[in-house]
């Protein structure tokens, strides 16, 4: 177990290093990108550009520049954004709880509803409800999240805001959980639903397919031959083994979202999370912020894949000894 954790931590460092180098090189290989020019404002004199380059270390060799950036990111933690000239680390740290709140809530909703839908569709196979649920799921997958978000906003913030249904919906934005839990909940309620729709649809379909596949396994027949109730066969045998795929998908999707993948939802609902930060840094080619958000996302993704492996070993004893 300890060996497993150490191995995963080392692996995580390798991945983080590789990704940061890659992003760094891509950025400097991009033609027409000169951070010093951007920072110097309109019609700068060559002296100004040179002094800025010197100030930010941009006149040094590439490996040194990479080293300097890593030093500022991890050791002195005072990396400065090229665009806003603010410190990047505090900015990311203040955006993280917003994204975590959004993604955690959505994940709870999508786990509960995708399991309900997937199990219902598999159990009701052969009736009209199965194709009905699966078409519903397909619609959920196909709806673009920004469009759905805008429609939700249109309905809850504008058209029906004064009706008894939606008068409780607060204006867009984010209130920290520690400051006002009830407000936190109310502001995040519709973003949660909007973000989870795609995943409910996708996970329900995956789970249904897995349940139906598992249903034809010999050990399910054995379970029936033991005289177990259909409910027990479904929950303790079929669903239990079908969850293995579900869990591995979930870990990675969750990590991608925490790492900034919930960008569109954050933009539509005005949530100042990591996705929004990434989006802004990309549009202005703000290297320090891009680097930091990418390393941050990679951190969560490698962490999640390590956690998935742990849960996987718990779910499937066959991989434990391997």
């Amino acid at each position: 177990m300890a060996a497993f954790i150490i191995r995963r931590l080392l692996w995580m460092l390798v991945v983080l290093f590789a990704i940061s180098v890659l992003v760094f090189l891509i950025f400097f290989a991009t033609p027409g990108v000169d951070p010093a020019r951007q920072m110097a404002g309109r019609n700068p004199s060559p002296e100004t550009i040179r002094s800025i380059k010197h100030e930010f270390g941009l006149d040094r060799s590439l490996p040194v520049r990479y080293g300097l950036m890593m030093k500022h990111m991890f050791i002195s933690r005072d990396l400065i954004s090229y665009g806003s000239h603010t410190r990047v680390i505090p900015e990311i740290l203040s955006a993280t709880p917003v994204t975590l709140s959004l993604v955690f809530g959505a994940a709870v909703i999508w786990i509960v509803f995708s399991i309900l839908t997937g199990v219902a569709a598999a159990v009701l196979r052969g009736t009209i409800f199965d194709p009905f649920l699966m078409i519903l799921a397909l619609i959920g997958i196909s709806i673009p999240v920004f469009w759905l978000g805008e429609v939700v906003n249109l309905v809850t913030q504008s058209r029906l805001h004064d009706s008894f249904l939606f008068s409780w919906v607060p204006p867009l934005g984010y209130t920290p959980l520690t400051q006002d839990p009830f407000m936190w909940f109310k502001q995040l309620f519709f973003p949660w639903l909007t973000l989870s729709v795609l995943y409910i649809g996708f996970y329900a379909r995956v789970l249904r397919a897995n349940l139906i596949e598992t249903e034809s396994e010999d050990y399910i027949r054995t379970a029936r031959a033991k005289g177990l109730s259909e409910r027990r066969v479904l929950f303790r045998h079929t669903l239990r083994t079908s969850m293995i795929t579900f869990v591995s998908l979930f870990g990675l999707d969750f990590a991608v979202l925490v790492g900034g993948g919930a960008l569109l939802t954050e933009v539509v609902f005005g949530l100042p999370g990591v996705g929004l930060l990434t989006y802004n840094s990309l549009t202005s080619l703000d290297l320090p912020v891009i680097m930091t958000t990418v390393v941050y996302a990679a951190f969560f993704i490698t962490l999640a894949s390590a956690l998935v492996d742990l849960v996987y070993a718990w779910l499937d004893p066959r991989v434990r000894l391997a």
Binding site: G126, D218, A225, E230, R318
Partner: protein
């Protein structure tokens, strides 16, 4: 005469498919007495498994259609509710399946899987269920059962897993054990061990056993009575001596001729039965075995032979040939070298 433990009366099982109705089991009747070992023999697709799966009502295919009656201890199982059937399954009739590698749930320990069945049928506390599971594992010959009980199925070999399956099936002392090709997926030395185990346990537990197999050699040792199935019907039924020493149906001859025998000189290749079993959707007119039968004559393509007693003594067969003809002709199929030297 005492009431039989299991009595199947004119059972028909068919499946609706896009190509038409597949008559997997086409009107079969047989009985199993208490403590008796009945072997059901036939090639793949002859309906042996479907028959016994129907007894357990384990076929979940919504396209299956049943006709006929299955009496277990005088009660018609076909009329049982799902819950009543669950009481029968596992507790009164238990089943061992063909492939021990896939028949146990990979994510639970074998102890958990045995205790699950015990708890389903009996009111036991945790310690009692565990003790009983260890006892069962010891009875089926698993070494160090108190350690192995916490192992997962993938930590056992195929033969050991089949022993676990048998322990699972016997956990509630069933009156009827159905073993569906229990040795087919195992290698030959293990096959012999498992058959020996079934034989011994049958004696200890007093269960009746229905042994499904495609291999007459498997039932030779342990079966009291043998049913030979072909294309969803019973073509011959008799006790072990009758089937092995006085076989009446040409299909049985073919099966006997295809067994490798160590007590005879190996002078030539084993005889195979030519051709394929008939389509179960469009059964040929007359006898189902006629297209493959070297003995077929005019009557066979017109009239479907009924399963009747022709030699007496509970020995039934479905063939138009006269008993004398059969006795004269069968050696050519079963032991060609003996027939030639005669």
């Amino acid at each position: 005469m005492a009431e039989p433990l299991l009595e199947v009366k004119d059972l028909k099982v068919s499946f609706r498919t896009e190509d038409g109705l597949v008559r997997a089991v086409d009107g079969i009747s047989f009985t199993v007495d208490e403590g008796e070992v009945v072997g059901i023999v036939g090639e793949s697709g002859s309906g042996k498994s479907v028959t016994m799966m129907s007894v357990m009502r384990l076929i979940t295919d919504p396209n299956a259609i049943y006709e006929g009656e299955i009496f277990y201890k005088g009660r018609n199982l076909m009329g049982f509710s799902k819950d009543a059937m669950r009481e029968v399954r596992g507790e009164e009739i238990a089943m061992v399946f063909q492939d021990p590698m896939t028949s146990l749930n990979p994510v639970y320990t074998i102890g958990w899987q045995i205790e699950e069945q015990l708890n389903e049928h009996y009111d036991l506390n945790k310690g009692q269920a565990r003790r009983r599971a260890i006892e069962l594992l010891a009875q089926v010959g698993i070494p160090k059962p108190e350690q192995r009980i916490d192992n997962y199925p993938h930590q056992f070999s195929g033969g050991m897993r089949q022993r676990v399956m048998i322990a699972l099936a016997l956990s509630c002392n069933p009156d009827l054990l159905i073993a569906d090709e229990p040795t087919t997926a195992l290698d030959v030395t293990i096959q012999a061990q498992i058959l020996e185990l079934i034989k011994n346990l049958k004696r200890d537990f007093g269960s009746a056993v229905v042994l499904i197999t495609h291999d007459l050699g498997v039932v030779a040792d342990i079966a009291d009575r043998i049913l030979v199935m072909y294309a969803g019907r019973i073509v011959e039924e008799g006790d072990k001596e009758q089937i092995f020493y006085d076989p009446q149906h040409p299909y049985t001859w073919g099966l006997l001729g295809s067994i490798a025998r160590l007590d005879r000189p190996r002078t030539r290749r084993l005889t195979a039965i030519a051709g394929q079993p008939p389509s179960l959707i469009n059964r040929p007119r007359g006898c189902s075995f006629r297209p493959r039968c070297p003995q077929a004559f005019d009557r066979c393509s017109v009239e479907d032979p009924a399963l009747t007693a022709k030699v007496g003594g509970g020995h039934l067969d479905a063939c138009h040939l006269s008993v004398e003809d059969k006795r004269a002709r069968r050696d050519a199929t079963i032991n060609p070298e003996l027939a030639e030297s005669a």
